[in-house]
């Protein structure tokens, strides 16, 4: 598994070179949101709006109405908590092509609760016209701007920064509302998103060796949520399904899966891994993943409970898992 660095930075610079209508708006966090290089390279397309997110969001609506394609950069919390009314009334109601690139989804920062977007999906999933993308790897970072362009409406992206693994082949870009099947199986279904997918891939590899048949699906589009792959995967499995998300279990991926189960009358048992209706605190990613049960180990425990077996898997077994080394194309 190759670790890519500052993928968004390189990607959006190239995107803006090819798309003259693209402009960057920043609320004093551009350097923390991988558009510092952009600012140096194309200052004429970079607009600083200061620490004033509400004005930035409505201002972007004006730019979008005149044909520009604004890409707003700040931490996710400062969009969905600070400027929710502006997101709804200035941008989403008119269905304008404004992209909210929200950094630090879930537990991705030691910055603590003021900086951690732990309920953004729950809040934003209720907004008409808005699409929500939860980035899982470097290939998805490279592909998401094309998805945004094709969608041609408001999009919120839970973006990952700095060192991000490449879990998916670089020549298989993400598509809107299309989940990736990473493993086919019929005992148990695992639906994962964001940083949880790497953990789920690790757990799946080890569990498969123990003879369990796993349907593992990576979900990057959280709205719209109408991909038939979800219901097809649920119909296949014998024991039940587990969702795993870098977010509270209320209102996110897990509850979206639950909707699919109930609307299709499937009756599938569902276990939701994620923050259990709590705010986290500030610490390292690995520490928080363990503490709040977002790790491969937590997933294995959930699988064991669902299947009713103990697989005796150690931390060492998980660490020995090696992934394919996908490189950029």
């Amino acid at each position: 598994m190759k670790i890519e660095v500052n993928t968004h930075s390189k990607n959006i610079i190239q995107w803006a070179k090819d798309h003259p209508e693209a402009v960057i708006l920043s609320a004093d966090l551009g350097t923390s949101c991988e558009v510092g290089e952009f600012h140096t390279e194309m200052p004429e397309k970079y607009f600083s709006l200061g620490i004033a997110e509400q004005n930035m969001v409505s201002w972007a609506a004006g730019l979008a109405r005149e044909g520009y394609r604004p890409f707003l950069h700040t931490f996710g919390v400062f969009f969905y908590r600070r400027a929710l009314d502006q997101m709804e009334m200035s941008v989403c109601y008119p269905n304008l092509p404004v992209t909210f690139i929200g950094f630090l989804p879930g537990i991705m920062t030691p910055g603590g609760v003021s900086h951690q977007s732990v309920n953004d999906v729950a809040v934003l999933r209720s907004i008409p016209n808005l699409a929500i993308i939860d980035i899982g790897d470097a290939t998805e970072i490279e592909g998401c701007l094309k998805v945004v362009e094709e969608y041609n409406g408001p999009v919120y992206i839970r973006m990952l920064r700095k060192e991000v693994p490449r879990l998916f082949p670089a020549n298989e870009p993400m598509k809107l509302n299309k989940a990736r099947v990473l493993s086919e199986g019929n005992d148990i279904a695992i639906f994962s998103s964001s940083i949880c997918t790497e953990e789920a891939m690790r757990a799946t590899e080890v569990l498969k060796k123990k003879g369990l048949s796993i349907q593992h699906v990576h979900v990057s589009t959280l709205k719209p949520f109408t991909d038939p792959q979800i219901v097809e995967s649920l119909k296949k499995v014998k024991y039940g399904a587990i969702s795993m998300e870098n977010h509270t279990v209320i209102g996110g991926l897990g509850e979206s899966i639950a909707n699919v189960i109930s609307e299709n009358g499937l009756g599938t048992k569902l276990k939701k891994i994620g923050l259990q209706d709590t705010y986290p605190h500030g610490a390292s990613k690995m520490y928080l993943m363990k503490k709040y049960g977002l790790s491969a180990t937590s997933l294995i425990e959930a699988v064991e409970e669902m299947v009713g077996r103990n697989y005796n898997i150690s931390e060492e077994d998980l660490e020995q898992v090696r992934f394919v080394d996908y490189t950029a194309v």
Binding site: A52, N55, S58, W59, R65, Q86, Y93, P94, N129
Partner: protein, 299 residues
């Protein structure tokens, strides 16, 4: 569009008040105080100050065209009533959406919508809602959540400046909404980006829902506040049409121009004065209705 004379604008302002008074009587209440305070400002904008083309909107009221969505982006929108969006033409963004009836009646007075269309004001299923959105005639964006339209208009002005367009962007605001922090975020950014193609008219009628603005949350010293945030402020009598027009000609190179129109919510209809400052929404009492009707007949 040819520019109207002061006498023509004054007559239009009176007619606007009269139209809203009629709605107030017939519908058992309307935003009459806002009509009284802003009639001259809106009439002067449409009839003299703004450089806008012929309306492209429907003269008739239309059934509600649906909310914007991927499948519904080409619906008849409110901006059509301000003519083509040519580079040399001006724009007008109205922020306080509860002034909608005043905007509709101003459009009717200026031949941009039929007078019969006003009969559909606030009628279920039609596009002339009491507080509408960007399908509402005369509204270039979805307003109503106060403090946002100034930023949308500023973003529009910024974009037009980047594109080198000569047309200006006007925003019409109420004074109560200046209590929103976003307004001041916007003014600091408008100064930062030197938006001298941006002009704001504020209807400073001194009233808001709970009473007098000075008692709810004082805005003074407003001129100094605007200047401190980098704008050019002009303080005028908002019922003096000549002053309203002349204010728009104030030089404001490199800066946003803010015209503060000092107005009264009972101007032109003195029988409202006893209600002042509680004039956010006027619903005639049973023992007042005859006085309202008599005043209307003599207007």
């Amino acid at each position: 569009m040819s520019k109207s004379t002061i006498a023509e604008i004054q007559q239009a302002a009176t007619n606007i008040r009269k139209s809203i008074l009629k709605l107030t009587i017939e519908r058992n209440g309307c935003y009459l105080g806002q009509a009284c305070s802003s009639a001259e400002t809106l009439a002067a904008l449409y009839m003299n100050i703004l450089n806008i083309g012929e309306s492209q909107g429907s003269m008739d009221a239309l059934p509600f065209p649906g909310v914007p969505s991927a499948d519904n982006m080409d619906y008849p929108n409110g901006a059509l009533y301000h003519g083509p969006k040519d580079g040399d033409k001006d724009r007008l963004h109205v922020s306080p959406a509860h002034y909608a009836s005043v905007v509709y009646c101003t459009l009717a007075e200026t031949g941009r919508i039929s007078k019969e269309a006003i009969d559909k004001f606030n009628v279920d299923g039609w596009n002339l809602e009491m507080i509408g959105a960007e399908h509402s005639p005369g509204f270039e964006n979805t307003a109503g959540s106060l403090g946002q339209t100034i930023s949308i208009a500023a973003g529009t002005a910024h974009a037009r400046k980047l594109k080198g367009e000569s047309g200006k962007v006007y925003a019409f605001l109420s004074d109560g909404e200046l209590q929103e922090g976003q307004v001041w975020e916007c003014l600091q950014a408008a100064a930062f980006y030197k938006l001298d193609n941006f002009v704001i008219y504020v209807d400073k009628n001194g009233n808001q829902v709970e009473g007098a603005t000075k008692d709810v949350m004082d805005l003074e010293p407003l001129v100094k506040r605007v200047e401190a945030f980098g704008g050019i402020a002009v303080d005028i009598d908002g019922h003096n049409i000549n002053a309203i027009i002349e204010a728009s000609k104030t030089p404001h190179e490199g800066k946003v121009l803010v015209v503060i129109c000092n107005t009264k919510s009972y101007q032109g209809i003195p029988l409202l004065e006893k209600r002042n400052p509680k004039l956010h929404f006027v619903r005639p009492k049973a023992d007042e209705i005859d006085d309202f009707k008599a005043f209307y007949e003599n207007m």
